[in-house]
């Protein structure tokens, strides 16, 4: 009885979670122009996707921005995590942790507005006509990405044996060599997951981008948001169906390779 109730709850939750995804994929094959009446099966919106530069530009912008922001945030964030790990003063460490938490705790709209006001303020000081552009957007993305990189790297550092780096130095390597040859490889998994998280957060971000970008640089989420003033056309559903397929493939791939790793580990421990 209890079990059936639990399974019914599961069924309903998953159905509601996936209903809009199903509707989206379904209408991406619509031969009609709208997204409410299904007129017949067609692949024309997928074909239009690749001939329509209207949507290719925001897509390219999004990828470029996310890649740049994630790389820069990963470098600064990893360095920051290593720094925070070695900081001795408790008060300074707490201050750093609190400040790092601010972008994660603040609602996106406040982060976006506060950064925008900073850019506008500085813009007025130096007398610039437009204070918002690609670079302000990039700065905003790096800013909200760094805390997530730190969040991923710091636990890995806490797991590493501090004597390892010391041993390397005793064996004659300089502190810099010890860092790159011993510490960095042992936290690499945290760095990678931090990078992936930063990249996907950047890809998806709408709210912060909405406040910090200029008129000339549009990302995909911004394009989608602005589009709905006109009726939605199925081509945007086609694009997101493809993205859904890609996400699914990546998830399957990482999970399968994760399972293989686990098997290997199990075999080794035998």
């Amino acid at each position: 009885m209890k079990k059936t109730l639990g399974n019914i709850l599961m069924g309903i939750v998953y159905f509601v979670l996936y209903l809009p995804l199903i509707v989206m994929v379904f209408f991406s094959f619509n031969s009609g122009r709208g997204t409410t009446v299904f007129k017949g099966f067609s692949l024309k919106w997928y074909a239009e996707l690749f001939s329509n530069s209207d949507i290719m530009v925001p897509l390219r912008n999004t990828l470029l921005l996310a890649a740049l922001a994630a790389v820069i945030a990963t470098v600064i964030g990893t360095a920051a995590a290593v720094y925070i790990y070695y900081v001795k003063s408790k008060a300074w460490k707490n201050t750093l942790n609190t400040v790092t938490n601010i972008p994660m705790m603040n609602p996106d709209i406040v982060t976006g507005v506060s950064l925008m006001l900073l850019f506008v303020f500085v813009g007025r000081l130096i007398g610039a006509k437009n204070s918002l552009n690609f670079f302000t957007l990039l700065i905003a993305h790096i800013t909200f990405n760094i805390p997530y990189v730190i969040l991923n790297v710091l636990p890995k550092l806490n797991q590493t044996d501090p004597h390892l780096a010391e041993a390397a130095q005793d064996l004659g390597s300089t502190p810099t060599e010890a860092f790159f040859k011993v510490v960095l490889p042992s936290i690499m998994s945290g760095v990678t997951s931090g990078f992936m998280m930063a990249f996907t957060l950047s890809l998806d971000d709408f709210v912060i981008s909405y406040y910090t970008t200029g008129a000339t640089f549009q990302t995909l989420p911004l394009y989608v948001f602005n589009m709905v003033k006109k009726p939605v056309r199925p081509h945007i559903y086609a694009l997101y169906s493809l993205i859904f397929l890609l996400v699914l493939a990546v998830l399957l791939f990482t999970n399968i390779s994760g399972m293989k790793d686990n098997k290997k580990k199990k075999n080794k421990s035998k």
Binding site: I76, L117, F179, P221
Partner: protein, 276 residues
């Protein structure tokens, strides 16, 4: 202990600088815009204008709707996370990925899809008419907005609750049973207290984005329901009134900090490190 190398000292400099300029200073800039007028003179007018009926209503609705969304999410997510944590390990993993998957997609596009489903000749209404029920105006109602909040943010409620529940040692539950605990007392005395840290972070992770949203209310509320986020958006993007926009953001921030402090008071001191 070796002496700290130059690298270890300098390695933090970029971030310390970055955080000072782009995390700390912006907060002061928000305060600056709040307490000045368009010409830069000191004023309290921006904050005073927030007591106008229109703004008061948006604050009331934001708090009301996001509280409703948080409670509904908790009521659904809690048993969901519990059921999930009792499944086989592999099933748990797959179920978790399935909960996360919509988050990997753009929530914006899924909100659009909901517009399609709920609109006047959408899926739900077609189903209703085929059952002989009259068409309903679903878009533009408080229910649609609250539903949108729950849909968008419920994974953030399931995630932390599941993560604490899956770490409850089954032998603790068995021990409780051996000592005579039945289903209800097991729930109240063991599962509930042990899962409290997950509940607290789940509530925060649903309430904060709900209370500050603007696209959910804009799309599913059809522009008829104006929340704090909509007010901020209107001041900043449409009217270019940065000062009132800043005042709204500041009050929103204070509101969130206060409600978090209130919740900590309610939940007691929860030590996150112990279980998470």
């Amino acid at each position: 202990m070796k002496k700290r190398s130059l690298l270890q000292r300098l390695i933090g400099a970029p971030y310390v600088l970055w955080a000072a300029i782009f995390i700390v200073v912006p907060l002061f800039i928000v305060a600056y815009y709040t307490f000045t007028d368009a010409d830069g003179g000191l004023t309290l007018e921006n904050l005073k204008s927030l007591t106008e009926a229109e703004y008061r209503k948006s604050f009331r609705l934001s708090i009301l709707y996001s509280l409703a969304a948080t409670v509904i999410s908790l009521v659904i997510a809690y048993p969901f996370a519990y059921v999930m944590s009792r499944k086989r390990e592999r099933t748990q993993k797959i179920m978790m990925v399935l909960v996360m998957l919509p988050l990997w997609m753009s929530l914006l596009i899924l909100t659009y899809s909901w517009m399609n489903i709920l609109e006047r000749n959408g899926l739900v209404n077609n189903l209703l008419t085929s059952l002989g029920v009259k068409r309903l105006n679903l878009i533009g109602t408080p229910g649609a907005v609250i539903f949108g909040m729950v849909y968008n943010y419920i994974p953030y409620m399931i995630l932390p609750i599941y993560s604490v529940m899956s770490k409850i040692d089954p032998s603790v539950l068995e021990a409780a049973e051996d000592l005579g605990s039945g289903g209800v007392s097991k729930l109240y005395r063991i599962i509930l207290p042990l899962s409290m840290p997950g509940v607290v972070s789940g509530i925060t992770m649903v309430f904060v984005p709900s209370v500050s949203t603007f696209y959910i209310s804009q799309k599913l509320g059809d522009g008829k329901i104006l929340l704090i986020g909509d007010m901020i958006e209107r001041q900043i993007q449409a009217q270019n009134n940065y000062n009132v926009g800043a005042a709204l953001s500041l009050v929103l921030m204070v509101l969130i900090v206060l409600s978090m402090a209130l919740m900590k008071l309610f939940a007691g001191e929860t030590d996150d490190n112990l279980y998470v």
